[in-house]
Amino acid sequence: MTVELVSRVLEGDRRALARLISLIEDNGPPAQAALAALYPYTGHAHVVGITGPPGTGKSTLVNELAKGFRRRGATVGIVAVDPTSPFTGGALLGDRVRMRDLAGDPGIFIRSMATRGSWGGLARATGDVIQVLDAAGFAVVLVETVGVGQGEVDIARTAHTTIVVEAPGLGDDVQALKAGLMEIADILVVNKADRPGAAQTARALEVALELGRNSARPGKDAAWRPPVLKTVALDGSGVAEVLEAIAAHRAYLESSGLWSHRERERARADLTGALERELLARMLARVGEAALEEWAERIARRETDVYTAVQALLEYDKRS
């Protein structure tokens, strides 16, 4: 069944694509086989992340960017991530509300994803779903993260180009100086630029960029200075400049060799992430949930500590 699904996805069957994404989200045994079969067909899409605080207009900007890419002839896959409730496990995925312009276009595929317990602004399966859209032939994959604060920076490892969206009046200018979001931005967008304070927000971002230039992460950005662009996504103004900046960033990544550097960084993160999950699953399968609960109880009662417990569990693992 998986083999058939994979070949249908490669033929452009949208129903098969939607089914396969669900399989991957649910992490069933067939998912890994499907991803392995699709992997040779990946590596062509430009993955663009859109992140930023809640309420800055990320979905509306994604809507406008997708329209712009379509006008330029590129097909667009969209992954829109919203948070899962930690209490009920349910999720309200509302990003499509702002993407209604994109309905009826066979060159666009939109998928809403719940984080399902992940904390980095993406779902565990987001990276895999991007691979599937890439293999299905979408030239651009836009990834909208959950509304983030300062630390949810998974998108930077997942995307080739990361756009950080801010809006005027979200807090005092010092917010812009906070680490995390600023450091991962390849392009900064001040959306809702028709509102008071937009120029001030843009200036604060410019200053923060200037201050951060010396602490940029290695292998990044020596020659790329993230532009600060102003948009009003609701009426589309400024969006053409963002599209140009995305194209310029791609050209920069390719000419500087950073494209392959980022691909390798992503591959490494994917590999270690998958390894962690696999090793934990194997460990749990061998020692059992009950044993784990028992150790947790002992740690909580202060009879032992986490590190001693880990060593003991690993010893147990070796014996068996």
Binding site: R14, R15, A18, R19, I21, S22, E25, D26, N27, T84, S85, T88, G89, G90, A91, L92, L93, G94, R96, V97, R100, A103, G104, F109, I110, R111, S112, A114, R116, G117, R124
Partner: protein, 132 residues
């Protein structure tokens, strides 16, 4: 992490009252479902397309405009044509009693009028989608 029920909540047609749809969307979320909310003024074609892309188990249509006898059959037909026969369809809103048999005949799983408790809706969706 295993399978989650995915439900599309949509408002076809032109009426602008989405309070009920939002209350139901929230209740389904609180019941542990993943709810894709599409907002106002959706055409049947848009609803079918979203149901396909999101691979949902059920679609909930909220209609207060009185246009249910044209809109609902078009959604049902569109789902069939897209190969989505397995997707269960629910209708909420103001539906006169005399229209209920025809809608059920056309393939609607259940119809929820004003005052239906959200618990009833949650249970009906779970049952129809083979959970509980």
């Amino acid at each position: 992490m295993g399978k989650r029920l995915r439900v599309l909540i949509a408002k076809p047609g032109l009426d602008g009252h989405d309070r009920g749809a939002k209350v139901v969307a929230r209740a389904l979320r609180d019941a542990g479902m993943e709810v894709i909310y599409t907002g106002l003024r959706q055409t049947p074609e848009m609803i079918v397309e979203a149901a396909l892309q999101e691979d949902v188990d059920a679609v909930g249509l909220s209609i207060l405009s009185g246009a249910h006898m044209t809109l609902v059959p078009r959604v049902l037909q569109g789902l069939r044509e897209a190969g989505l026969d397995h997707v269960r369809v629910f209708v909420g809103g103001i539906i006169p009693d005399e229209d209920v048999p025809a809608l059920k005949e056309a393939g609607v799983e259940a119809i929820f009028g004003p005052g239906t408790s959200t618990l009833t809706i949650v249970e009906a969706i779970r049952r129809a989608c083979g959970e509980g």
